[in-house]
Symmetry: C2
Subunit: 149 residues, 2 copies
Amino acid sequence: MQTANPARRSSLQRMLVSRIVEAAHDHPTAHSVFERARRKMPSISLGTVYRNLQLLADQGVVLERKVGRRPARYEANRHRHYHICCVECGALEDLPVPYQKLLDRRVQRMVRYRLQEHRCEFYGVCPRCQTSARQQARPTAIARIRSPG
Amino acid sequence: MQTANPARRSSLQRMLVSRIVEAAHDHPTAHSVFERARRKMPSISLGTVYRNLQLLADQGVVLERKVGRRPARYEANRHRHYHICCVECGALEDLPVPYQKLLDRRVQRMVRYRLQEHRCEFYGVCPRCQTSARQQARPTAIARIRSPG
DNA sequence: CTAGTTGCAAAGCGTTTGCACTACG
DNA sequence: CGTAGTGCAAACGCTTTGCAACTAG
């Protein structure tokens, strides 16, 4: 962490990271952002990408999504929406389901938390993984279900 | 990972880990399960606890919940429910909101995933952290919102 | 017997951080 | 100029894994 509440200063690196996430529509990981950034600025370091992603997430410019043990994925903070995640390959996609404000209201009524938002992820096996699963040995008595974690 | 689809064998360690999670109502971390297990069986190792938690999660006996970068938390697989999580201290609590099967149906209609379930977490600041926040320096122009990650 | 399970310790992975240097304002 | 930001590499925290010994079936 940097200083408690630093007076922000702009840097090429930060602008680049920000631009990359804004432009991306595939929920890139930090490493993936790093690789894209490197094409424009070969000297940029992974640490800097992490620092800026974290900074931008704190500012609310980008959103960070962690699923299970997989590396965090980032996206521009456009509008609230839900995701679907493949339990096999970790693919992450947006869902065109409206944010259920009603749920927030319901929950706010039953707890004494200062409620901010909710996040909802759907889990399943993506078409591609369904196909590749069929090519492997047939499932045993109890189908093995990988936990989303 | 152990063998692809091993014929399971019982062990005192596995039964112990299982019993501990079944009995717990505080969403313990692996380390916390380990410490409880150690009281009954001082020789048990952390690695074994992890292995068994993972095994039990794969079998669906326990559920694993990861929030942000914090260590995974485990609970018995009783019924589907949602959680609320404090963005400050990481506290995790069950919510008495019914599982929204309707959402699963809606989503299943719009994607070609083989849908398994959804998970929903609400984020906010718990009463305790609201209090301790007040004791600190007053917030600056833009209130700092910690991302749930 | 023999393959699943264990304890131990080392490795792995994504992420964070200490440091000396750079550069924004 | 002072201080936030950077690149680098080492450290971190949680988790997984290789291995030899052990044990349930």
